[in-house]
């Protein structure tokens, strides 16, 4: 993966996850999700700074210029604006497992940003897998929601894990088994995010993220 792909995955994930701020089921979880969003933003900034002007890259590109995988831009629920905690946890499980594997590989190859990020992604993964087991193997309702999210998000995991699929499965599948969740059998594997082909959801996300900068370029507070 290129630094821009790593940065865009983290940046878009940070923006998505921050939708939970003030809306999480408990105060404790609110802080936890905000923490993870901030970690993602921190990594995105470091990679963007390594590539040039971070504000121009974050706020000045259109959706077709973003190189994130499609998973991170998806709404964190069955539809946009309909936040679902189980959905979010499955999404975070997918993302953090992939990020931990990639950052570990990059850190071993001397990438200093990845070396910092690998500890953070270990914690994100830990948080996601603890919750995955509790929701999947929790109540009837929590199991249904987690399984529904898993079924919907699974196709997007292929693009996320390109080149590390086997290793990713070796992390995720045991967690799903422990959570009594069934691995979906679908083979549909949408992709294109790395080439700038995105779902409709990215442009809405960017509109919210970029509107202030576009209205007041360079604004500070």
């Amino acid at each position: 993966m290129t630094p821009l792909e790593l940065a865009d995955d983290a940046l878009v994930a940070a923006q998505r996850l921050s939708e939970w701020v003030s809306r999480a089921p408990t105060l404790e979880e609110d802080v936890a999700l905000a923490n993870i969003a901030l970690d993602q933003l921190g990594v995105a900034r470091l990679y963007l700074q390594s590539l040039g002007d971070e504000d121009a890259l974050a706020y000045g590109r259109s959706d077709a210029e973003f190189r994130n995988c499609q998973l991170v831009e998806l709404p964190l629920g069955p539809s946009r604006g309909d936040l679902d905690f189980g959905w979010t946890i499955v999404w975070l499980l997918f993302l953090s497992a992939a990020q931990k594997i990639r950052y570990t590989q990059l850190a071993a190859a001397g990438d200093e940003i990845a070396a910092k990020a690998v500890k953070e992604s270990s914690y994100h993964l830990d948080h996601a897998l603890e919750w995955t087991v509790r929701l999947g193997d929790g109540t009837e309702e929590s199991h249904l929601r987690a399984q529904a999210a898993l079924d919907e998000l699974w196709p997007y995991s292929h693009e996320l894990t390109e080149g590390i699929r086997e290793e990713w499965l070796s992390v995720v599948e045991p967690v799903l088994a422990k959570a009594t969740l069934a691995v979906p059998s679908t083979t549909w594997a949408p992709s294109g995010g790395r080439n700038g082909q995105h779902t409709e959801h990215l442009s809405y996300l960017l509109a919210e993220m970029q509107s202030l900068h576009r209205a007041h370029p360079g604004v500070m507070w």
């Binding site: 404790e28 802080v31 914690y123 948080h127």
Partner: protein, 93 residues
Amino acid sequence: MTTEPLWEVFVRPRRGLSHTHVGSLHAPDARMALRHARDLYTRRQEGISIWVVPAGAITASSPDEKDAFFDPAADKIYRHPTFYELPEGVQHL
């Protein structure tokens, strides 16, 4: 809206010091409580070790018993090591 159990959180700031009570939180179980404690109470390098204890497991002295528990110590000044003359040259006391 939470119905999750309450946990008391103790953090050890660094090696050689004791765990100190820092606050409480709600969590479904001990493992999640530990993770929430990490997020809520050690964000700014406040500690190197965390304990979480179910709040219900703590037996506390009652304010009603305050006089019986604590007042008698007040007039027993011989419990304080203030009647010794320090020899010359003794330090760190």
